[in-house]
Amino acid sequence: MSDKDFHVRFKNVQKSYDGKQLVVKDLNLDIEKGKFVTMLGPSGSGKTTCLMMLAGFESTTHGEIILNGRPINKIPPHKRGIGMVFQNYALFPHMSVGENLAFPLEVRKIAKPEIEDMVKKALDMVQMGDFIDRYPGQLSGGQKQRIALSRALVFNPELVLMDEPLGALDKQLREQMQYEIKHIHEQLGVSVVYVTHDQAEALTMSDQIAVFNDGVIQQLASPADLYERPENSFIAQFIGENNQLRGTIEKVNKNIANVKLENGENVSALMVDVKDKGEVTLLSIRPERIIINPKTTKNSQALEGKVLELIYLGDHIRCRMMVSGNDQFIVKIPNSSTHELLKVGEKISLGWDKKDCRALKP
């Protein structure tokens, strides 16, 4: 695909603030039109920096960013037509809500009556129509958030950037806003680049998630792929919960490896980023993919585990076990009448589909 097919392309982008350390190292990211793409990563991983480069407030040290097929560094920030929701909202404190929303329209020299219509529409979209005369200082965090969102959308940008917009809200409000933002995105069809360090938020909202760590994108994938098919051990650990078992590859058969664990037991696993016999590998298995007392078939295998702790969580029971020297091995057992009851201290056999066990570089 060429540049034209993407809304935004980061091509080998690097960024350094001090000339010594690269905050962003060789970033490549393609964003399709109308997609909701999330940059997910721990604090300090360079997410905000990427947004700032895209919005034009920071220069790229190396590489280029293409917006609608044009290199972006030729376009000044105010001509990029990118809506932006800032981490702390950045609502102008000396302007009322209405004036804040009218601002982007006024600087575009749109006629007064039209401005009024557009402002009203944008406010109604976030159910804040009654707040047009309030000042930002008179709004709660959630209300400010909605206003900031509608201000970033009022001039009908094709691309909207959001930098941890829900970071300051409480959990319940955050979840409600996640759905609202998602719905607005679907309704308007704009491209969204969303930044967060909250993986649940990223999984709920995104079409695609780019996981950042250490200045590079570790994996770009849909939420389901990211969760179910992590491509390296960072992703496996960062997204959701994963059990990890250390071992050495003994035999390779196509993409299935036979791995010898530290306690000598043998298991088969799907090779993801490991290649050769003799390599040390980290196996990762989701707690909910583990089967208790499996009927051994061609695709599954059995390991022995000792129950250490049982935590009752209502819909499921969380069971901490000792498996191959790892005493933090978690198994989630659905709370159903067909499941047998476990006891602490009991030794049981565990199994899983070998596709669910991923062999990754440690």
Binding site: H78, R80, M84, F92, H94, P104, V107, R151, F155
Partner: protein
């Protein structure tokens, strides 16, 4: 007892006893707090408010007159103001004059009443010299025989007003007003009117200084707020250095720099830009330069403090919304610096209003401000009342400005640095 009843009945009782308990508990704390601040309060009152109040009171204080002419001041209270006073009043003034003449106090009365009515001074000194010749009644005829002015109603009007315990005379004089013969407040003649023009000159100079410090201070403050911590600290030290050198030294150094064979003139002449030295000191220009320099930190510091608290996100947000840098600056950044501009302007303006030493040293005769005349009346004329009246005018001016603008810029919330 039902729940509702108990709630209704006990609430008021509980409320009261709770309040009592709270009061009792808080009382000790209150006493302690008051005990702690009392010394400070006393110091404030004794060394701050009392002297100012006493000084200001001198602008309306007139009790000295009644002390010199005590009987007259009582007797004249019965005078209706129409026609001449009665014989008792004449007798009283003769008695008072005899004592005052002996004590050499009569001239004070004369000087003071001459303010109101020219001729009073000579009348009193002339009559005072021969007052002992009047040995008995009729005092009225005897006195009028000395000088016909004693039979002039106008002199008695002035006398009556002059013997009151307080007078508006000095305050009126400070704004070029006076009492006329009929006890009405009128403007002084054109050639005597100087104070209004001095006050307006003071306001004009202060306003110019305020604008100059704003124009110079805004970019400095902006730069300081948006630079690296190193540069910022360096600039801050340079700015505060101004406070470590004495005002006198700073002002005098400007004379060295700006005088006819000073650095600036020499440089300009050396480079051939001018052939004759420019007059840059002992005139308005010198006042502007020196005062702007001296007052600049008072503009920069509040501005800087406000600017530091404005996150760069606002201007960025404005730009992302489609505003050019200049639009973003004018419509988003500038309005948020208004509290700083207001506080800085108010501080500079109010200080400039009361400036004395700088204009006195680097200004010419036509650049002197109100404070100069306050000093003049105290040092040269020994007229504390007039000095104090001018001081009060200044205070009223400053106070009203503070009330008008101080609220708006919320100066109490300003923090420096």
């Amino acid at each position: 007892m039902t729940f509702a009843a108990s709630e209704g009945a006990d609430n008021s009782n509980d409320g009261k006893s709770l309040r009592k308990k709270l009061l009792r508990a808080e009382r000790r704390k209150k006493f302690e707090a008051i005990g702690l601040v009392t010394p400070l309060l006393i110091v404030m009152v004794v060394f701050y408010f009392v002297p100012i109040a006493m000084m200001l009171f001198r602008s309306i204080d007139n009790s000295q007159m009644a002390k010199i002419l005590p009987q007259t001041s009582i007797a004249i209270q019965n005078w209706s103001g129409e026609g001449l006073p009665d014989e008792i009043t004449y007798a009283a003034i003769v008695g008072d004059m005899k004592i005052a003449q002996a004590d050499r106090d009569l001239a004070k009365v004369g000087r003071r009443l001459n303010f109101d009515l020219v001729g009073f001074h000579s009348l009193l000194s002339k009559s005072g010299r021969k007052i002992d010749e009047i040995k008995g009644p009729p005092y009225k005829e005897n006195l009028i025989a000395f000088d016909k002015k004693w039979g002039n109603e106008q002199y008695w009007t002035v006398m009556e007003r002059g013997l009151k315990n307080t007078t508006l005379l000095y305050l009126l004089a400070a704004i070029d007003l006076k009492y006329d013969e009929n006890n009405k407040i009128v403007k002084v003649p054109e050639y005597e009117a100087i104070y209004v023009s001095i006050i307006s000159r003071t306001v004009y100079i202060s306003l110019s200084i305020t604008i100059l410090t704003l124009i110079l201070g805004f970019p400095i403050a902006y730069f300081m707020a948006n630079t690296t911590p190193r540069t910022r600290n360096l600039l801050m030290i340079i700015l505060l250095l101004v406070f470590w050198t004495s005002l006198l030294v700073r002002t005098l150094s400007w004379i060295l720099v700006l005088q006819n064979n000073g650095v600036v003139n020499n440089l300009l002449m050396f480079t051939g830009i001018i052939t004759e030295p420019l007059d840059m000191v002992f005139n308005r220009f010198g006042v502007y330069v020196a005062m702007t320099h001296v007052l600049l930190p008072f503009m920069v510091l509040p501005l800087y403090s406000v600017m530091r608290s404005i996150p760069s996100d606002y201007v960025r947000a404005a730009q992302s919304l489609g505003a050019k840098s200049i639009t973003a600056f004018i419509r988003v950044y500038l309005p948020q610096t208004l509290p700083g501009i207001g506080a800085g302007a108010l501080m500079v303006f109010i200080q400039a209003l009361g400036y004395y030493i700088t204009p006195a040293l680097v200004g010419g005769p036509r650049d002197q401000m109100v404070s100069y005349f306050v000093a003049f009346f105290v040092n040269e004329r020994v007229n504390w009342s007039m000095a104090s009246a001018l001081g009060l005018t200044l205070l009223i001016l400053t106070g009203s400005l503070y009330l008008i603008f101080g609220k708006r810029v919320n100066i109490a919330n300003m923090k420096l640095g």
